[in-house]
């Protein structure tokens, strides 16, 4: 009897196990832990190079479930920064108690965490028992307070955490965990969601050489990008928007570090080994054909061993410096973007939007100084001759498979149909001015400001472009070049 019950029980458990396995294999797992996906160029590296790179990135950025705030980067991680102050006169402090002063806004509450930033305890944490905003006294749950002058942060990293929450809830399914623009819904969208990892953003108020400002990101998130699937998140609280702006910047910096270090290490990739091997085979064949004594082709494994040894040497000598200088480069660039000097302010106010100004703008648009028409077409419908050509990939002679323009992420791209009155980067005249002045970053739309066009001329072009949606289509402008006439308006 007992045995029978036992065996029934076993059968039942087996069924449950099968059911669980089925559930797991079909993806019914509660909260799978999120991971930052690596670039293909990173996974292509030989093992040692790959793990060095991944360790560097992980050490400084952590994982989605365990973020690391790298102080070196110009990211506002959030929290209150303070300094241990001298005890107020006449107060007797207990060992866990200390006076403090702090910068900026914010409130210290019981239960908050203090992170010591300097002194003997730097890097250690403590929990707050009570905090008094009036007397500026904090007492710790356990341990003693450090010496006067020690700096500390309370709830350091709060903003990044909040940013992650907001991002995971609202953005991840398009922009992906790592900000690689490859979330689960991304494949259905055109244009594709932005891959932040190049540090390149399209709709910026900065000069052509500069990165995106916090204000730009704020605007894009609040108002969306009309004509694309990037929706408006107007109803997020302001502090949520601020936090997600920082998180996007942080992801972009992480992506840039990975990309730039990967670029430094291409010599230690599978692709490079295969190239070397193929070259050796070819030169052997060539030598044989010429009747010379061919050199022996090294085996793949010997090539790999050489690369491994080379990398070992590199890792010991230069790698740390490379990481350092790359981090500095990234930090400097992102800091400079938010410098007011990087923002484009037209030298003159908008030129009055008169028929004369529009006519001047139209001539510029159709001129070979700007060549706007080659992309946007004579009538502004986005069907210029450039959309019919095969274009080379950036930095190589190889051409794209598809006709027309591509952005730096490799996606095909239409020049805008200027008659729709849709301005993805914003419809304020200053937005359109900045688009023309600095171009659209990451796309072939070039910068015209400062070099090709004077500010007054940019305004004329703005006036012309912004009048296009209201112009009757009946009389298309005559084409100035015979090449264009070969592409009739649809």
């Amino acid at each position: 009897m007992i045995r029978m019950i036992m065996s029934r029980f076993l059968i039942k458990s087996a069924w449950i196990a099968v059911a669980c396995l089925a559930a797991v294999s079909t993806g019914c797992v509660p909260n799978p832990s999120a991971e930052f996906a690596w670039r293909d160029s990173t996974t292509d590296l030989i093992k040692d190079a790959r793990s060095s790179l991944q360790n560097t990135v992980n050490e400084n950025f952590g994982t989605p479930d365990d973020l690391v705030a790298w102080e070196r980067l110009p990211v506002n991680y959030g929290g209150i920064k303070g300094t241990v102050a001298a005890a107020p006169e006449g107060t007797e402090l207990t060992p866990g108690e200390f006076a403090f002063s702090h910068e900026g806004e914010g409130e210290v509450k019981p239960g908050d965490t203090v992170l010591w930033l300097s002194g003997e305890m730097a890097g250690k944490e403590a929990t707050i028992q009570s905090a008094d905003a009036a007397t500026h006294l904090i007492s710790l749950k356990a341990g003693t307070a450090p010496a006067e002058g020690t700096t500390f942060a309370v709830n350091f990293g709060d903003q990044l955490q909040l940013g992650r929450m907001v991002y995971m809830k609202n953005c991840l399914h398009c922009h992906g965990v790592a900000g690689d623009g490859a979330g689960p819904t991304a494949q259905y969208l055109n244009p594709r969601p932005r891959d932040y990892r190049l540090g390149v953003f399209k709709f910026t108020e900065t000069l052509a050489t500069e990165r995106v400002t916090r204000d730009d990101l704020w605007r894009v998130i609040k108002y969306g990008i009309p004509g694309t699937y990037m929706p408006s998140f107007l109803l997020l609280d302001d502090h949520e928007t601020t936090a997600v702006v920082e998180y996007v910047r942080w992801l972009a910096m992480r992506g840039e570090l990975e990309k730039r270090l990967g670029d430094e290490l291409t010599d230690y990739s599978q692709t490079s080994l295969t190239d070397q091997y193929n070259k050796a085979v070819e030169s052997k064949k060539a030598a044989e054909a010429a009747g010379d004594k061919p050199e022996a082709v090294p085996s793949m494994s010997s090539l790999r061993n050489t690369a491994k040894d080379d990398f070992k040497e590199y890792a010991e000598s230069d790698y740390a410096d490379t990481v350092d200088s790359t981090a500095d480069f990234i930090a400097e660039n992102w800091t400079r973007a938010d410098d007011p000097a990087s923002v484009i302010h037209p030298a003159v106010a908008r030129v009055a939007d008169t028929p004369e100004s529009r006519a001047r703008g139209r001539l510029l648009y159709l001129s070979d100084r700007t060549k706007c028409y080659t992309c946007h077409g004579n009538t502004g419908r986005g069907n210029g001759g450039a959309t019919e050509d095969f274009w080379p990939k950036p930095g190589s002679t190889e051409k794209y498979d598809a006709r027309g323009l591509h952005d730096v992420w490799g996606n095909p791209l239409q020049p805008r149909n200027l008659r729709l009155g849709q301005y993805r980067g914003g419809r304020r005249p200053v937005d359109v001015f900045r688009r023309i002045y600095a171009g659209i970053k990451g796309t072939p739309m070039p910068a015209f400001g400062g070099t090709v066009l004077k500010d007054e001329e940019v305004w004329d072009v703005v006036n012309y472009v912004m009048s296009l949606p209201f112009e009757s289509d009946a009389s298309p402008s005559p084409a100035p070049s015979t090449k264009m006439a070969a592409h009739p308006v649809q």
């Binding site: 699937y229 106010a349 939007d353 008169t354 304020r428 949606p469």
Partner: protein, 278 residues
């Protein structure tokens, strides 16, 4: 004896279920299990729709309580009869059936006629208020609401004008007089739903559908999409902000000024592009 106890138990049980249902309904508003927001409609027509709802609720409540009281009584009465007494068996009553057909039919007819007025005002153009202000064109698209207003002091035109003012997910309307929007869709079918105004209207591709209402209160109300329109449907949320006439006009000037910002000058809201229309 035992049978009588069982019978009485069921009589009490069924009555208790009905009493519980009524009690839950009575306390529901206090627990927020009622209409969204503060429970009141914030548009004039919405209040009339609520009145209809409450009228029907009263009719239904009286019927429910009556039927359950009768049911409880009959069960109790049957269980209290001596066990040797046979139950009464009747094969229907013509008169009774006529009554319980005519009375509900009469009630239904009454409701049908009584609500026609509200329905007509809501959906039939001839019954719309004589004067109403077309405030904006609202275009639903996957997955947001894009809104176009005429410039201050101008009429809303069916096609975009150079001086129009644009917002996204933020519909501003004046309070205290009838306003209307032109509802469109850019892609698939959506539905414009402002629960606190009791306003709901499908947005259909290819159609421009007028929707009107009159705000009774200043405030911010949730606007959601009420037609499953794709995977992002659940977050197709916006707000309707009801403002006083003065605030509305001031907001529009402010919004226009920001929208025509050239990075250099803002001449007290006087917009260069506006004064230079051909």
């Amino acid at each position: 004896m035992r049978n009588a106890a069982v019978g009485k138990f069921w009589a009490i049980f069924f009555t208790a279920v009905a009493v519980l249902a009524v009690a839950v309904c009575v306390v529901a508003p206090d627990y927020g299990w009622w209409f969204p927001g503060d429970g009141r409609a914030h548009s004039t027509l919405g209040q009339k729709i609520d009145d209809l709802f409450y009228l029907i609720l009263v009719i239904v409540a009286v019927t429910f309580i009556g039927v359950n009281a009768a049911l409880g009584y009959i069960l109790w009465h049957g269980a209290s009869l001596p066990s040797d007494k046979k139950a009464l068996f009747s094969h229907g009553s013509h008169a009774l059936e006529v009554i319980w057909t005519i009375v509900p039919a009469g009630i239904l007819l009454f409701i049908a006629l009584y609500q026609m007025d509200v329905w007509a005002q809501y959906r039939i153009k001839n019954f719309y208020p004589k004067t109403m202000e077309p405030v904006a064109e609202v275009t639903a698209r996957q997955f947001e609401w894009r809104i176009r207003y005429p410039a201050r002091g101008k009429k809303l035109m069916p096609t975009p004008q150079p001086d129009d003012v644009y917002t996204v997910n933020d519909l501003r309307v004046p309070t205290g007089h009838p306003v209307s929007i032109s509802l469109r869709s850019d892609d698939v079918q959506h539905s414009f739903f402002v629960p606190e105004l009791r306003v709901k209207q499908d947005a259909v591709p290819g159609l421009v559908i007028p929707v009107w209402w009159e705000m009774t209160d200043i405030g911010s109300f949730e606007l959601v999409c009420a037609e499953l329109c794709g995977w992002g449907h659940y977050k197709m949320k916006a707000r309707v902000v009801a403002m006083s006439d003065e605030d509305f006009e001031a907001w529009k000037s402010q919004a226009a000024q920001e929208q025509f910002y050239d990075g250099v000058s803002t001449k007290d809201g006087e917009l260069v592009s506006q004064s230079e229309q051909e």
